[in-house]
């Protein structure tokens, strides 16, 4: 037996797991989407009924809108904060401390983070309202609730973005900056025209990370708001969960999963396109 074939055998255990728990589920979603099924009952075939229901499900379109709004607010803020903070602390004595502090939320387990926010910002008996009387409206006002979930996500992730940008900053050659300064560029111009353009690949990478975060925000939603109030924070992933495992409509949940997978695919393709085009333009410039 050739070495290559022998080596290929070593991939078998991992591939078995991938096939059983990713590939088969992925390929079966479409079939499950034709079922009426509560999870415990025997599935009943209902043809395309679930797929037709997708088209006239107002909650689905609201949910898609919420997801897009979430992404359009969270991602640019995530990028801007990562960039601004990394630039602001570059070379300062506090750099290490700030990075460690901003990364710290990642060390608190997600359920624990939800508890921390609850203790602080709960409008009925949180610390904020006890100390200052300031009642945050995130349990009653839709916009505030979405802002709250976005703030929580940024709280968890910004440190990671800052670490990435900061690592890239270390890779900007000192000579390039020096040369610009000798040519009479102000610090602000050095940043604007030399440093930031060189960070483009990192920012592109963080854009992808940011999009994934938006698509995966369902955990934060589950922990903080359970989709409420009035469905205002019910992002797509959470709607799938809620339909399948709170309302026990797994057949329709499968149809929603199909829809969510389609959205993920479209976003991934669009993103790959934009990134390729951009880097091609950057290379020409």
């Amino acid at each position: 037996m050739s070495e290559r074939r022998q080596a290929s055998l070593l991939a078998l255990p991992a591939m078995a797991v991938f096939v059983l728990f990713s590939v088969v589920p992925l390929l079966s979603v479409a079939r499950y989407a034709t079922w009426r099924w509560s999870g415990t009952s025997e599935p009943v075939g209902v043809g395309a009924a679930n797929l037709m229901r997708l088209l006239r499900d107002d909650a689905l379109w609201q949910s898609l809108g919420t997801t897009v709004t979430f992404a359009l607010i969270a991602m640019p803020t995530f990028l801007a904060l990562s960039l601004v903070i990394a630039l602001a602390i570059e070379g300062l004595r506090v750099e290490r401390f700030v990075k460690a502090l901003l990364f710290a939320p990642g060390l608190v387990t997600v359920g624990g983070s939800a508890i921390a926010w609850y203790l602080l910002y709960n409008p009925d008996f949180g610390v904020l309202v006890e100390l200052t009387g300031w009642r945050l409206p995130w349990t009653t006002q839709p916009a505030a609730a979405l802002a709250y979930v976005i703030a929580f996500t940024l709280w968890q992730q910004t440190g990671y973005g800052v670490l990435m940008v900061s690592a890239a900053l270390k890779g900007v050659p000192r000579e390039v900056k020096e040369a610009a300064r000798i040519d009479g560029a102000h610090e602000r111009e050095v940043r604007r025209f030399i440093v930031v353009p060189l960070l483009r690949p990192t920012l592109a990478f963080l854009t992808i990370v940011g999009t994934v975060l938006a698509l995966q925000s369902y955990t934060a939603v589950y922990l903080l708001t359970r989709g409420g109030p009035f469905g205002s924070t019910r992002v797509l992933g959470y709607y799938v969960y809620e339909t399948a495992f709170e309302r026990f409509e797994l057949g329709y949940g499968a149809a929603l999963t199909l829809f969510a997978l389609l959205v993920t695919l479209i976003v991934a393709v669009l993103q790959a396109r934009v990134l390729v085009e951009r880097s091609a333009r950057g290379a020409r410039a």
Binding site: P13, S22, L120, A167
Partner: protein, 257 residues
């Protein structure tokens, strides 16, 4: 620049507040809360002692066992898969595809699959589907690409089989990357929320499910909640502190390529 520094300071305060309060709440005496006087100073461990009756320790046991076994599998199987791909097996496309799909998006079809395999509400549900991770395969493959191939050729000339080479030659060389991947994978599994909530019932609750339930059933007990959150975070905290340098180095190296 002033505006940028101001933003940085505000961000630091915003990030620090919940953390500071969490630690503070975990150590304040219950009387301070009954008197509604949260400025009372004093440190106590009674909140941690009170965790004994809540079932936290059982949940910690389930989580440690499940995350530990899952990560062990991810490293062993991941190393095998990465080595096979490095040797020409055409599986990278599949790995990249699976990396793009968040696993919790597949809750519905996974539920059916676990039902078929009689894994629902078993410890296996928390472990078996997580015995391999596309991200770990990817990280280890990146690391393997930096290993000088003469090392493996030499072992082959000595007559070593491929399995032996992976275990005795490749694994020791990749130790730093294996450690880093293990910490990341452990944290990812430890932090699963919806998956264990859906696939198991109370006797197999993981730490995350336990915490969300505690928040629902005892929302007024700040001290207890804070203490539970700290205990639940301890394993991740310890792993990160011990292996900090390796994790960051591996992350940056994987990200460069």
């Amino acid at each position: 620049m002033i505006v940028m520094r101001l933003i940085t300071v505000l961000a630091c305060v915003f990030v620090a507040l919940p953390l500071v309060w969490l630690v503070y709440a975990a150590f304040i005496p219950a009387e301070a809360l009954i008197a509604a006087n949260i400025a009372t100073f004093g440190v106590t461990l009674e909140n941690f002692a009170a965790l004994g009756d809540t079932g936290l320790w059982r949940a910690m046991g389930v989580s440690v066992l499940a995350s530990g076994l899952a990560v062990t599998g991810q490293l062993a199987f991941g190393l095998g898969a990465a080595y096979a791909i490095r040797n020409g097996a055409r599986l990278l496309g599949l790995v990249l595809l699976l990396m793009a799909i968040p696993s919790e998006l597949l809750l519905v079809p996974l539920y059916r699959q676990l039902q078929t395999l009689s894994l629902i509400d078993t410890l296996g549900a928390l472990i078996v589907p997580f015995l391999a991770s596309p991200l770990v395969v990817f990280l280890l493959l990146q690391a393997l690409r930096r290993v000088p191939w003469e090392l493996i050729e030499a072992a082959r000339l000595d007559g070593a089989g491929e399995g032996v080479i992976v275990a005795r030659v490749v694994a020791p060389v990749l130790r730093p990357e294996l450690v880093a991947a293990a910490v990341l994978a452990f944290a990812a599994h430890w932090n699963l929320v919806l998956y264990p909530r859906v696939m198991t019932t109370e006797s197999l609750w993981t730490v995350q499910v336990f915490l969300t339930d505690l928040l629902r059933t005892r929302p007024f007990e700040w001290g207890l909640l804070g203490a539970a959150a700290l205990v639940a975070s301890a394993p991740i905290l310890v792993l990160y502190v011990v292996f900090e340098k390796r994790i960051i180095a591996t992350f940056e190296a994987g990200f460069r390529s």
